[in-house]
């Protein structure tokens, strides 16, 4: 990829992530929320944004050789964002979060969030022991988990009536789906099934 095309991609990525954050920061809902609730909500948006960064990194679109190492670090950042998201919501309303974690919440989006969270945690554990797994198990496991993470996270984010603006949220969700599907196709993981 030429450096000018890469520069355009970087700018597009920055816009795709900055616009939802700016729109959410303008939400009237924030004025009726405690700081810890606001931080929890924005940690969720950051997590969704990292789901756009991850596939672009691993396919080498954003940069050359250090991309894979950074992919690991942004993966750790995703785990951290989820922990902040859930912990902040827990402090805001413990019984609602307990209901979600026990899969008995009345809200339809929360089960998707819980599934995505466990898929991310499972991926982190897989990544920690990947040397012992072998390439085939690792790549198939990580790819399957990534499909679950991307799909469940997008459904979760889309169904939530929160601080995110509908247009910027929808656009970010579409980009996350597209980037995930594109990376999966590019990496041709299904070869490992043979």
């Amino acid at each position: 990829m030429t450096s000018s095309r890469r520069a355009i991609l970087w700018v597009a990525l920055a816009v795709a992530i900055a616009l939802p954050l700016i729109a959410a920061a303008q939400s009237p809902l924030l004025q009726w929320r405690e700081p810890v609730y606001i931080i929890a909500g924005f940690a969720g948006i950051v997590g969704l944004a990292l789901l756009l960064v991850q596939p672009l990194l691993i396919t080498g679109l954003l940069m050359g050789s250090p991309a894979r190492r950074i992919h690991v670090w942004t993966g750790a950042g995703l785990v951290f964002a989820i922990v902040v998201h859930v912990a902040g919501l827990w402090i805001t309303s413990p019984p609602d979060v307990v209901d979600v974690l026990l899969f008995r919440s009345p809200t339809p989006f929360s089960v998707w969030g819980a599934v995505a969270m466990w898929a991310v945690f499972a991926t982190a554990i897989l990544a920690a022991v990947r040397k012992r797994l072998g390439l085939r198990v690792w790549r198939l496991g990580h790819s399957a988990a990534a499909v679950v993470i991307v799909t469940a996270s997008v459904i979760h984010a889309w169904l939530v009536q929160g601080a995110m603006g509908d247009v910027t949220k929808g656009a970010l969700c579409m980009l996350v789906l597209w980037a995930g599907a594109w990376a999966l196709r590019r990496r041709r993981v299904w070869r490992m099934l043979r």
Partner: protein
Amino acid sequence: MTTPNPTRRTVVSTAGAAFLIGASGLTRPARAKSLEPTPTMRGGANNYLPGAPIVDRIGGGGFWTTGTVRRAGDGAPLAGRRIQVWAHTTEGHERDARSHGAVLTDANGVFRIEMPQIVPAFGQPHGHLAFDADYDDGDFETVFLRPVLARASDTSLHAEFVLRPL
């Protein structure tokens, strides 16, 4: 006249269908004028603070929560029943005591309480309502409701309690 000569497939499918209809309760007779009790909703009791005071209005008001309280079976209105209401509003979180208040039903089993505007929290604009047997004569079962506003811009919420006698 032809004699029915069912195949094994016909017998099995007919018996299966009969079993399904029976097991699914579709043959239950329609009971005229029998009102089913309202079940407690999932998450309905979340952030409940028992014993909120009976008030004319929670905070500054501007939003109306209304409803009825009736007896299961005959649907008779229940007067003087205490309903507690709480929500995440423009004036506080669900866990804040100032977001809670209670009201009594009138002679027609109707209650209405003014409160601050409900705003979306935890992904949905919703309210909480409780009929708590511990704060009543104890002749009806406790029920917690968690109705969701159709639109976040709605300025009222309606809930109906049908209580099961103990």
